[in-house]
Symmetry: C2
Subunit: 349 residues, 2 copies
């Protein structure tokens, strides 16, 4: 095992490119003194910024590339245009060739997933990667996957997601037996979509080393009923964005009502500390980082519109997963699943 | 047209049965002096309650039934056991035989939908009914459908949902040209699930008398980007419950942070009026009522756990839809759709 761990950063990704990535990496460099950084992107743009952050500079290396992927490029287009030479490609390729232990990008999600899949390939026994979100809940945080890597999933793929999410919860939350639930529209066994019911049967009957809880509903996510919520990418993405929208909506209502009278404005001033604490708790920058799971390597996607603090959170997530050996954990679990699997309980796909 | 309008109530439905339904109906009776009420259920339980509400009593009639549907009965079981003789069945049947203009129940959703579909039948040209939710947004309210009548929908069914939701928005919000969006995981034309893309093509290309906006994402629901959000029942149900869960989560955070220090508690006392206004705005009782659309008659489902105020809101929704002729509007729109439909743009189903 290497003593110096390295994170590859797509310095040009996101709405603000190096303007966010470099100060974000500086924050991460301060927090993680034994990590190095490879900065992929336009040297002319990165250098003047890097000069401002001597701590990062001492542990970073620029890898020049003058091709970057546009936020609106289609994945197929990005693969053609960015293959080999784009900074996004090169950051992922550094994970493949062992120069880096993980890659982080705030760039185009579809392109990043397409390239990651192409370069790193899925783990043996995994049919498709997933994007896992870290979701703040009343009990702490949960993992929700897939939040949009692909649309639809059959029972076997949902089981794979369960295994990947469970391994991730062990890595990120330090849990030994995270609980896993299948997202459904009712908790009774007879309810729901066919694939979800089949996956439930599979998780119940197979003796996987996993704490399978059962079905959960949409409101269970925020409650933190389980540590890992499994769903296919279309529903997961809509649930994630609906929750983001609702949180913003309530925050907007709160601002409106507090500004209505002088006395409530005064109350708001007194409760300023509380509102700051609320903002902190709901701060999307503190829950930033969609993890691409199921690949031969770790890739973390940061929100494109985040700032340095948010980008640093995405790097933190990558570092935590590297430290705890996510890829190896998933590979072991999949191997174990294949070992316990016998023809009698094989899922029809 | 009848001058006296009548609402049929399933008096035994919901977690509290007549204990909620009767005081809820009293509130509705006060607000709507030209409406009558048929109360289906156990006379022995309804009578003593009704005696407390003379205004309702003067305009209500009890229709005795000693069979009621359990909250956990499967739809097929409820249909067998409750056919003809249960109060839920009889309330819906009163709509079919013209005694009532709409039915409201806080009972078992699956049973209510199965019976409604069996008794009232779908409108000509409608393949399946949908449950439409009234969703509070930053711009007021929007209609979201389907939130769980059935799982999955093909392109033609999504178009039907669009038509039904649009007619409902005209009835409930008094809009002449409500905007309609299709829920998707991106706003670009190429993104999303096949059926959703096909429905989009259909809505764009057909010259329907409807303001089709395009794709919307999960966070657009709370923003109120469009008046009607169309999706299939699995995703719609999960979005609805996820939003409910998130709103509760933020409210819980808010309580926690306000109680942390004496000074923030004092601030909270001063801003009491504001918090009351926030609670009012977020009060689920004020947005209660899932509308069963696409049937030959109006059936509104109240939350099972609501109180009298919430049940009265569900009755309000039913009354508004009766007054504005929802069923006729949907039937006209579907007929119009069939008229403009030509083989070139016919949706592959």
């Amino acid at each position: 095992m290497k003593t110096d761990l390295t994170i590859a950063l797509d310095a040009m990704g996101g709405d603000f490119g190096p303007g966010t990535v470099i100060p974000g990496a500086e924050l991460a460099a301060i927090r993680h003194p034994n990590f190095k950084f490879l900065l992929f992107g336009d040297r002319a743009k990165i250098t003047p910024l890097l000069d401002k952050y001597p701590r990062l500079k001492a542990r970073a290396e620029i890898r020049h590339s003058d091709v970057s992927i546009g936020m609106d490029e289609k994945p197929s287009q990005a693969l053609r245009h960015g293959r080999g030479k784009s900074c996004m490609w090169q950051a992922i390729d550094a994970v493949r060739n062992g120069e880096a232990d993980a890659a982080v990008s705030a760039g185009n999600t579809g392109a990043l997933m397409a390239m990651s899949r192409f370069i790193l390939k899925t783990l043996p026994g995994i049919s498709r990667p997933a994007i896992a979100a870290i979701w703040p809940t009343l009990r702490g945080e949960s993992i929700v996957l897939d939040v949009g890597a692909t649309i639809g999933a059959d029972a076997a793929q949902l089981v794979e997601f369960a295994i990947m999410g469970e391994a991730m919860a062990r890595c990120l939350f330090g849990l030994t037996k995270p609980t896993v639930g299948l997202l459904n529209i009712g908790v009774e066994e007879v309810k729901g979509i066919e694939q979800v019911k089949e996956a439930a049967k599979f998780l119940r009957e197979m003796n996987l080393p996993m704490e399978y809880f059962g079905f959960v509903e949409g409101d269970d996510i925020g409650k933190g009923t389980v540590d890992v919520v499994v769903t296919e990418g279309f529903t997961g993405n809509i649930a994630l964005k609906t929750a983001e929208g609702t949180a913003k909506q309530v925050a907007t209502y709160l601002k409106l009502v507090l500004n209505r009278t002088l006395i409530s404005k005064l109350g708001a001033v007194l409760a300023r500390g509380a509102f700051q604490a609320l903002r902190d708790r709901m701060d999307p920058r503190k829950h930033n980082g969609g993890v691409f799971t199921g690949l031969n390597g770790i890739v973390v996607k940061s929100h494109g519109g985040t700032d340095a603090l948010g980008f640093a959170t995405a790097i933190d997530v990558a570092i935590e997963l590297v430290r705890n050996g996510l890829v190896a954990k998933i590979a072991e679990d999949i191997a174990e699943m294949n070992a316990v699997m016998n023809p009698d309980v094989q899922v029809a796909v």
